[in-house]
Subunit: 342 residues, 2 copies
């Protein structure tokens, strides 16, 4: 478990100063780590807490960790337990935001219809909001990241999985059954045209997700390289491309072309001018630059701009803090005007 205290200037600029006492907690439930941030009512993050979730996948264990982390952080800032005002939790899965239910998570966690909001509210006795983690990241970028002045944008998370958080007119578009933005299954040229099951990586994930890139790398380098080089991950492979490795350059070219095609397809449908790339793979500068170049070739009828996430792996956590402020109805700006409130 790791603790640190920080004050993030960008946040202070974007929430109106308030003297209201109390704290909120933002939570990011990841496949390998649970991360929490404690913020005051102006949105300034005061401390963080994290814990491995590798051996703890069930909702009960995760909820216990959330409570433990929240209490620990409150103690750290010398605040009583009842100083907590609200909490928001981002989860890698489909979340029914209205009812606070996690409908499904990826096969790694395997949650199904977990009433997470009710369960955590019982423990912490404060309002709790839940959402998909990529949506939380989009909220974070809109609040304090690369999409601060955006009314319409798409946050694109590319790690092992691929997902999009879609903001239209300053509001998240979550879809009729809470699964908008599931673009990891998108069919672009070259994609396998075989149906995908829900517990398998999607067609686009196989092409440009972290594991997909790694597996293509292993095929390309299988005859030539020693084992250590075959075990590179996607970002290390892209680093090699910058250093001139021809196989890595091939993969970077292929990945950026497919990413550009996926963004082009989203762009045709939504006519969004801005895409924010996040996630461990999506954050790589070489991928963003090469995808922008590929995209610029398709000049008509849409030409979106790609930028890298300003918050990086913190986007989800920032979004959760922002959603927690909103959940407690303590935030001076409403969701509908987030985009123009900065």
């Amino acid at each position: 478990m790791r603790r640190e205290i920080e004050t993030i200037a960008v946040v202070e600029q974007n929430i109106h100063a308030t003297t209201e006492p109390g704290y909120v907690v933002g939570v990011d439930v990841g496949g390998t780590n649970l991360r929490l941030a404690l913020a005051d009512m102006s949105g300034t993050i005061l401390t963080r807490w994290s814990s491995s979730t590798v051996a703890l996948r069930g909702p009960e264990a995760v909820i216990r960790l959330v409570c433990s982390g929240a209490k620990s952080m409150l103690q750290e800032v010398a605040a009583p337990p009842d100083a907590l005002r609200s909490t928001a939790i981002g989860v890698p899965g489909v979340a029914d935001v209205d009812n606070g239910i996690i409908i499904a998570t990826s096969y790694l966690m395997g949650w199904r219809d977990v009433p997470l909001r009710t369960l955590v509210e019982k423990e912490l006795n404060v309002p709790v909001a839940v959402d998909n983690d990529v949506n939380m990241a989009a909220i974070g970028e809109l609040w304090a990241g690369s999409a601060k002045d955006a009314k319409d944008f798409v946050f694109l998370a590319i790690g092992t999985g691929i997902g999009a958080g879609i903001v239209l007119n300053g509001n998240l578009h979550r879809g009729n059954s809470w699964s908008a933005g599931e673009i990891g299954y998108m069919l672009v040229p070259g994609a396998a045209e075989i149906p995908t099951k829900s517990d398998e990586p999607g067609a686009l994930e196989r092409m440009i997700g972290g594991e997909g890139i790694k597996s293509q790398w292993q095929k390309l380098s299988s005859t030539e390289d020693a084992a250590p080089s075959r075990e590179l991950n996607a970002t290390e492979i892209f680093d090699r491309a910058i250093d001139g490795d021809p196989h890595a350059q091939t993969l970077l070219r292929q990945s950026s072309t497919k990413l550009a095609q996926a963004i082009y397809n989203v762009s045709l449908i939504l006519n969004c001018p801005l895409f924010v790339l996040g996630g461990t793979v999506g954050m790589h500068p070489a991928l963003c630059d090469a995808a922008q170049k590929a995209l610029d070739q398709w000049i008509a009828p849409v030409s979106p701009r790609l930028v890298r996430s300003a918050l990086g792996t913190d986007a989800q956590l920032f979004g959760a803090v922002r959603a927690a402020l909103e959940a407690g109805r303590t935030c001076p700006v409403s969701p509908a005007v987030w985009a123009s409130s900065n």
Copy 2:
């Protein structure tokens, strides 16, 4: 020029009865025909008027025809010229709805930055609204067609060109630069990965647009068939598929698979439960059935339902009448509640 009088019951059910005197005109500007409908303030269409636009492509000529048609229809119902309350015009192109400007139309018409609203308002002296014709069709389907109970749906027009009208939370999503739904350029598996220019058919249009299907048919049948059969259009080819022609069946299978893939991609992004297929090609029942079957194979994570347009080629005209009622602010229901007002 053709005139007819009709009363459409479905419309009468969906607009609150009003005793307000006056009339509205809905206009559909097509590549080959200009069509007008005159309705009373309850939305009941009383008469229609149409004229060829084959030799008349410029905005001035089209505007003259609109005025001429409107006056003619008012005379027909024995109403004075000042009984006209408002007008709405659907145009095949990108329309800035806020400012009433047609930014661009297809290469066939070649309009650029035409202030259509102002020009027609000057002539008719009533409020005028303009919009993309596929958006107008979506409004029509939402008002009185296959999407009457829908909050979220996509109207998909497949003729020579392909376009989508996207309704989210009961409102049209038109995009940041008014070009949302331009899915004729979408890149699905098998699409040419070469950049498309704005005056050329898009990648998806080449695959499943009317001309694209015709051209594939001609290649398939070039060695075997006589000239008359080579000149079939897409709907005639699909009719032949039903009759057992193996080449036509191949084309129907390919077209429906590609259509299903395009719908799947839109569905992943928007999580819309309903797609209404319109346009001369899209209305073919065999295409809709085969696309639904193909789509059902991709059971996760989204499974939208496909239906054929209930209004057919009248969808745009119905939408224009509905938009005209709204433009005159005479309609008892606001756009935001269209979806739930039926």
